[in-house]
Symmetry: C2
Subunit: 228 residues, 2 copies
């Protein structure tokens, strides 16, 4: 039986854009595990009440329920050791640093470029919740947060320097082959990629070139994703 | 025969403060390898000409010469696999992200707090070189770079959030036990710790508490380091 994934969707149910759900999608594909995705909206809290919390990704695997992208990756690694996501306990511990850097730096960095664009693609029933929760977080209107984004591009691109430095020495964040570290960063980049036409990366950037290679992995899973 | 390490020193030859040499010191101690350190100053280029380049750390191990802290860590892991620094190829690949984040973010972030203090502790013969090379890098005088550092502390501490998030879930960056990821970050924090009285970390910060635990590793190698 396929694993079932509740996956954040837009007004268009085929538009899937959560940076956390994409980490899980890539991890499932890496393991070669078939998945049945269920489109889910921010306000569908009842639909995942079975998970005991209110956010996606949530997976159901033969009665077992796991939420939180990191916990899901650990669960998948335990259930299906090969091909590995982490390369062992120390590799997993080090990947947690990548996950933490992405959550601390990249998520907030990207949000400032696309948060108003997001409002245009999410489901109408989610819009009030989305605007009020995000405006409370930023302390400004969505329009003000996103305003002047072109001027902020150089600093954002500079913030990717750690990724760029790694790619000078190896093809993937996982080394010679992709690992969950690649899924964390690329999954997060799927978010702006799917919801906005605004180009965060320069084509000549090694980060953009690596991301393009990730899009082609797993039968072009990322490449074929619906974009707004 | 002990490994010989050319190690950056101040006017006081016992003051060792290079963030890169400290990574190597911790890695050697982790492997249980005895080391003979040779105090080296910025302008002692002749003394390490045998390495084909001009920076420390440089190690000599039975005629084999390795420079660059990352290359040295890889070399040590290959020569003495256990106890491991990386936990395998994927763990090493992921540790390179930690190394890259530290070099891209933490080194420059810390330098702005201590670069003028450094001038007071380095060898007199290094001072002209140090001032002119660092002022060229920053485009300002050392005094101007360091000025107003109290006001910049909150942003610096915030920049450590990725480390803090990891330490919420595990005792060490390496997971249940210290790894080279711990050496990279802690080795870099040895730098301000040794050359300046300016306190970068709040005592209550989990990062400070983890750093204190690193200072106690390997017989208190970090704890017993000479401080300016």
């Amino acid at each position: 039986m396929s694993i079932v994934l509740h996956d954040l969707a837009g007004a268009d149910p085929d538009l899937r854009f959560s940076p956390y759900c994409w980490r899980t999608r890539f991890a499932l594909a890496h393991k070669g595990l078939p998945v049945e995705t269920v489109p889910w909206r921010f306000t569908d809290t009842e639909a995942i009440a079975f998970s005991g919390q209110g956010k996606v990704p949530v997976i159901q695997d033969n009665g077992k329920v796991v939420s939180d992208s990191w916990a899901i990756a650990e669960y998948l690694e335990e259930q299906v050791p090969s091909p590995t996501l982490f390369g062992g306990a120390t590799g997993r511990a080090h990947a947690l640093f990548v996950n933490s850097w992405v959550d601390a730096v990249l998520i907030g960095g990207i949000a400032r470029f696309i948060v108003r664009d997001l409002l245009d693609v999410i489901d109408p029933k989610d819009k009030d919740y989305f605007r009020s929760s995000r405006e409370a977080r930023f302390g400004r209107s969505l329009e003000e947060v996103q305003e002047g984004r072109e001027a902020r591009l150089p600093a954002f691109r500079e913030s990717l320097l750690p990724v760029r430095l790694v790619l000078r020495r190896q093809a993937w964040l996982g080394g010679a082959a992709p690992s969950y570290a690649d899924h964390i960063v690329a999954g997060t980049l799927m978010w702006p990629c799917c919801v906005s036409r605004f180009e965060l990366l320069e084509a000549a950037d090694p980060v953009a070139q690596w991301f393009s290679r990730v899009l082609d992995l797993y039968g072009g899973l990322g490449r074929s994703a619906k974009r707004a």
